[in-house]
Symmetry: C2
Subunit: 393 residues, 2 copies
Amino acid sequence: MKEVAIIGYGQTKFGELWDKSFRDVIVESGAKAILDAGIEGNDIGAMYIGNMSGGLFVGQEHISSLIADYTGFTPIPCTRVEAACASGSLAVRSAYLAVASGAHEVVLAGGVEKMTDVADATSAIATAADQEWESFFGATFPSLYAMMAKRYMYEYGMTIEELSMWSVIAHDNASKNPYAQFPFKTTLEGVINASPVADPLTLMHCSPVSDGGSALILCDAEKATDYAHKDDIIYIKSSTQASDTIALHSRESMTTLKAAKVASEQAYKMANITPEKIDVAEVHDCFAVNGIILLEDLGFCKKGEGRIAVGQEEKIRIDYNNFVTVNPSGGLKAAGHALGATGIRQVGEIYWQLKQDKNCKDRQVNIENGYGITANVGGTGGTVCTHILSDKK
Amino acid sequence: MKEVAIIGYGQTKFGELWDKSFRDVIVESGAKAILDAGIEGNDIGAMYIGNMSGGLFVGQEHISSLIADYTGFTPIPCTRVEAACASGSLAVRSAYLAVASGAHEVVLAGGVEKMTDVADATSAIATAADQEWESFFGATFPSLYAMMAKRYMYEYGMTIEELSMWSVIAHDNASKNPYAQFPFKTTLEGVINASPVADPLTLMHCSPVSDGGSALILCDAEKATDYAHKDDIIYIKSSTQASDTIALHSRESMTTLKAAKVASEQAYKMANITPEKIDVAEVHDCFAVNGIILLEDLGFCKKGEGRIAVGQEEKIRIDYNNFVTVNPSGGLKAAGHALGATGIRQVGEIYWQLKQDKNCKDRQVNIENGYGITANVGGTGGTVCTHILSDKK
């Protein structure tokens, strides 16, 4: 397999983008990524787009053709990939394999979701759960993750304050991110006393309904300096993906994402590092409890300790020999969660952080070892995709 | 890039499968493919699934996790790909790239659609057209393809009899295919006098609404004999994909699928052959006119001559130095069109034909040069994906 690098990233602001259509959002983020990489549109050999449900949100499937059309990149191949909220990471992984195979030298991996055009986004999102055994009986994602939070409280004695600290820090981080949907700070009381959604989760434990687009430019690592300045090249050291049962009730445990453990173990092995080497992580906190569980499943702390690891410093940091800084962007909770765009945005944030890009401004984390990881989750953990990036080849 | 082979194929019957759910259909076809290849489930390293709209047809997105779950193959990675009716071929191409890259040795490429569970399949299918400029104003696929047929009649003087001959032969071929949805014969009068759908198209010029699943097993060609008998190995000589504008009105021509020309020219070049070498083709005749146009765009005959090329022999055959036999399965028209499963079924038919499998029975075509091609179309040509297979490495 060829080595693969990232040479550019762009995104729209995440939020309620009333003045932009589905196609505007993806074109804007794609154009920004191309400008950031400093390449020509003609350099791009193929595109992979993560999108969860254009069909249910905007009445548009076949978005691969739409995007090739509106970016003006016809006749290059464009493919949509979908695994619910992990769709974006799967687009990165598909692009990675297309470059690694030698089929294409430069590939755009994009993600897009326009969720605010429908009245009932929660029902559309519920199609990511098991239709016959969960959604049909009224289960929604807030209710499924609430059960996970309840169970985590039961098994490990997590308090509502420990759970809520995640959101406090997420908003603190987002306050330094100009692309974040909710760049305001909050307090423990503000989180705990917010409107209840599904006990124990309040509105402030839940990621929002978001519009947004994001795009990365991937390139054959051997050729990367032909296209980009060496300081703008970050390497993909591993791209791994695992699956689990779609229904929460079929799992061995409700407080572990087995697919996250499998994917991240493979990722560390492929990158030939241990979790201690990670400087920065972007993890999938669609609900606060999921962020805490992922800290454990990614190997940053022991089972049951994610709840107390949060907030040891000003950001979501974990003392694990060295520090790993988690979700400097504000995460899904506060930066926003435009489903198909989220996985790309996570990788984009790590790309910026590792190359210490000017876009990071006040939220730039300390880069010591030069490694970062992302963990993007579909459903309640039916799909997990992880990427390890490094500033070293 | 590694060379890639196909070592097994399985499918359900296409049709109104009232007694089978979405998950039953894909599990059945996957199990048949695995049995056909003679491998173990544990041999499979990843899965790619083509599906156009689980969200709109059965309220289920995130089918990658569902399928990994119900096949019992967790935790291997499973990815859904979508490009409307070309979704199946894109699953083949994604699996091809995953094997070619060296990431996985054996990969399952599957396709599934359950269309008969909704009252208005045509509206769901219309999301494959341009939502803002076609579907929103009431355009459906029968109406869009009817315009293409009208234009083809205007430009090349095609008669309704020439158009209808496609369907007569398609049904004749399907009568020899036990998996076909409509294995009955018909006549020119039967086609022309069927219920009008969108002038000049009658019901008998249109492919049906179908349920169905199909699955292929792809394998590193160097390792294929470790898994399968040498007589059961067929090689993928090219896998190419191209895009065009999503809206029909934006095209340079309504009677050429530019993406089919681009993809097939690349395919012949990659396989290092000319169209004359093709023994058998499966082309995307969602409407009869599209089958005729593809004969031309794949290089089997000149522009405007597809209409008279049809029916020179008992099957849809083209006299082009040698004969190419087209759609021995009965094509989408008569074998059925379970959207996401169609592209896989086309490749599966060519796999069977080239290895002269017992499943071909009375519809086995004469294999002289050992090459076959598929052309799978998304929308009105916004995506086209082609595969050339050969019985020689």
